[in-house]
Symmetry: C2
Subunit: 335 residues, 2 copies
C-alpha cells in the first residue's frame, strides 16, 4: 500500500507535513510519497528520510489560480502531481491539507467520478452526542437535485459503515421540521427517494436530532451543509471564548477554571477537528482525503492513518458498489 501526502497543503507547510511523514514512516513498513518542493523537503528531512519518497512538484495551488477544466488537467502543483500518482496506479490514497474546493476541482479533472455517480460530495464528521455524524454535502454542490442527495446518502452510509464501523447506519435528511412533508422543495422530493432506497432511512432531522446523535449520516445540499458546518464551528468558538472571558473575569472563577481545566481539555479534544484528521471527497474515483488547513503534524498523521485504514477496508470499492447497486433507485431523468 502506498499513501501520497501533499507537502504543500497546510497553512504552515511543509514543516508539519514533513514531521507527519517521518512519524508515519517510522510506524509502517510501506514507503510514503511526499509531494512538493524537493530541495526544501530534503533539507527539512535531513537524515530522517527513510521510507519517504520525494516527488518534486514545487507549485502550490492558490485559491486565486484560474480554475478551468483545461488548466486543471495540466497544472503541476503538488495536488495535481499527487493525484496523478493515484491515476497512474502508483498509489492508493492521497492526503492534503490544501484548499478543499481546489482539490475537488482537480480530483474531478484528474481522477473523475465513480461510475453512475451524478455529483461527488464533501463530507464532514460532526462531533455529536455520543459520537460522530457524517454530514454531506458540506460545500461541493450549492445547487442540488433529489437524486444527488440520494447518492450522497449511499456514499455516506458506505463510508461510515466501512471506516467508522457503524453497522446499518441511520440515514437522515436535514430539514426545517422532523415531520414527513416538512422541508423545502428539494427535501420534499428527496424524502420518497430515501424511503425507497433500501437504506436505513430514519426521516427528517433538525439540529436537535443531528447534534443529539440520532443519525449516523445526514444529507443536505452543499449550500445548507456549508452554512451548517461553519455556523456550528462559529457557535462552538463563541461559547468557549465567552466562557473563557467570564471565567477570567474574577479571582474566584479563575481558580475554579484552573481546577476544572481537565474538563475543558476533554471537551476541546472532542470538538477538535484534528481528532478526525481528514474527510474524504466522496464519489471521486480515487481515495482523496482533505485535512484542515490549520492541521499540525499530529492532525496530518491522523489523516494518514485514516487514509491507510480506508485502503485496508477497500473503501473505494464499497463506495463504487453502493452507487452501482443504488442506480435502480434513481428516478428516471426528467431534464
Amino acid at each position: 500500500m502506498r499513501i501520497v501526502l501533499d507537502a504543500m497543503g497546510s497553512d504552515n507547510h511543509p514543516a508539519p507535513e514533513v514531521d507527519a511523514a517521518v512519524e508515519y514512516a517510522r510506524h509502517y513498513s510501506e514507503p510514503l510519497y511526499l509531494v512538493g518542493d524537493a530541495p526544501r523537503l530534503h533539507e527539512l528531512l535531513g537524515n530522517r528520510g527513510q521510507g519517504i519518497e520525494i516527488v518534486h512538484a514545487p507549485d502550490v495551488f492558490e485559491m486565486s489560480d484560474h480554475i478551468s477544466p483545461g488548466s486543471l488537467r495540466k497544472v503541476q502543483n503538488s495536488i495535481g502531481a499527487g493525484m496523478d500518482l493515484l491515476k497512474d496506479g502508483q498509489a492508493d490514497a492521497f492526503v492534503s491539507a490544501g484548499n478543499t474546493g481546489g482539490q475537488m476541482a482537480i480530483a474531478l479533472a484528474r481522477l473523475g467520478r465513480l461510475r453512475g455517480l451524478k455529483r461527488p460530495a464533501l463530507s464532514a464528521l460532526f462531533p455529536v452526542s455520543g459520537g460522530r455524524c457524517a454530514v454531506l454535502d458540506v460545500g461541493a454542490n450549492t445547487e442540488c437535485k433529489p437524486e444527488y442527495l440520494l447518492q450522497f446518502a449511499q456514499l455516506g452510509a458506505a463510508y461510515v459503515e466501512q471506516v467508522l464501523g457503524v453497522k446499518n447506519p441511520r440515514v437522515a435528511l436535514l430539514s426545517n421540521g422532523e415531520e414527513a412533508g416538512k422541508g423545502n422543495d428539494l427535501v420534499k422530493a428527496t424524502y420518497p427517494l430515501l424511503q425507497a432506497s433500501g437504506l436505513n432511512f430514519i426521516g427528517n432531522v433538525e439540529g436537535k436530532e443531528l447534534f443529539g446523535g440520532e443519525a449516523d449520516v445526514v444529507v443536505t445540499d452543499g449550500f445548507t451543509g456549508n452554512v451548517l458546518m461553519k455556523s456550528a464551528e462559529a457557535v462552538a468558538k463563541l461559547i468557549t471564548e465567552r466562557l473563557r472571558e467570564e471565567i477570567t473575569s474574577s479571582f474566584i472563577t479563575k481558580i475554579g477554571g484552573l481546577l476544572a481545566r481537565p474538563a475543558f481539555r476533554g471537551l476541546r479534544k472532542e470538538l477538535d477537528p484534528a481528532e478526525v484528521g481528514a474527510v474524504p471527497l466522496l464519489g471521486i474515483n480515487g481515495l482523496v482525503f482533505v485535512a484542515h488547513g490549520r492541521s499540525d503534524s499530529r492532525a496530518l498523521l491522523s489523516a494518514l492513518r485514516l487514509a491507510r485504514q480506508s485502503v485496508e477496508v477497500n473503501l473505494l470499492s464499497s463506495l463504487s458498489q453502493a452507487i452501482e447497486s443504488g442506480l435502480a433507485a434513481l428516478p428516471v431523468e426528467t431534464a
Copy 2:
C-alpha cells in the same frame, strides 16, 4: 396604548401568562388585554386583576388544527381573538408564546401584509460576539425569491434601528463564502439587489462573521435560516451539557465547576432566549410578537416590554415606510 397577551400560548399556559400580566399591570398604567379561558383566568388572577381586561376565547390553537385560509379567518382560538383586537383598532400589539407557524398563518389571514410586501418573515435575535444579530427569515418561507430577501433586509434593518437602537445597521447575506459571487443561485441573484438597495450592505457572511458580531441583520431563505437557528441552539446545548458532564466527572473538576459557577451563569444568561423575550412577525400589518413556547413569566414580561417599546417608537409605521420606499429597488416582476 394597549397590549394583548395570549393567555393560552406557552407550554405551561396560562399560569406564566397570568403572572406576567399581573407584573405588567403593576408597572404600567394602561390596561392589558388577557385573552383565554375566562373562568380559569379569573380564578388564577384572584384579587390581582387590576388593570387586566379578560377576553374570553377558550380554544387553544393546536398544530394539528386544519390550516386553511377559510378556517383561519373564522377560528376563535385565543390567537385569532387576540389578533382581532388589533384588527379592530382596540389594541396596538399582540404577544403570544403559541405556535409560530400558526400565528403567522392566522396573522396573514386576519391582519394581512404591509402594502407592497411580497412575504412576511420570521426573525430571530441571535446572541453574537458583542451583542445581537437579527436573522431572517428563520422559517416562514422555505422557498424564496431574491426580492423576498431584499424586503427581509429592509424589514430587518428598520427593526433593529427602531427597537434595538442600532444606527445604520450593517446588513449581510448569509452564504457559503464571504467573497462576492459565492452562494447558491438565490444568493447570487440577491447580492446585486442588496448592493443597489441603499441599505448598509456589507456583503456575504458565513457563520464566523455572523457569530463574530460583524453584522446587525443577516438575511437568508427560511429553510436555511431555520436550519441555522435550530443547529446553533443544538450546538450550544451539546457543548454546555458535555461540559457539565466533564466537570462532574471528577472531584477536583467538580470543585472547580462550583467556583466557576458565576461564569457559567453569565454565559447561560447570554444564550437564554428568555432574555430577548420575543421576536416580531415582520411584514404583518400589525405588531405581533412571538415568544418561545418554553417562556416563563419573566420571559413573557420581557416580551410585553418589547411590544410596548415597539409601539412607542411606532415600529409598524417604520416597517411600512421601509417597504414602500424600497419598492423602487424591486426588480421588474418576471413570473
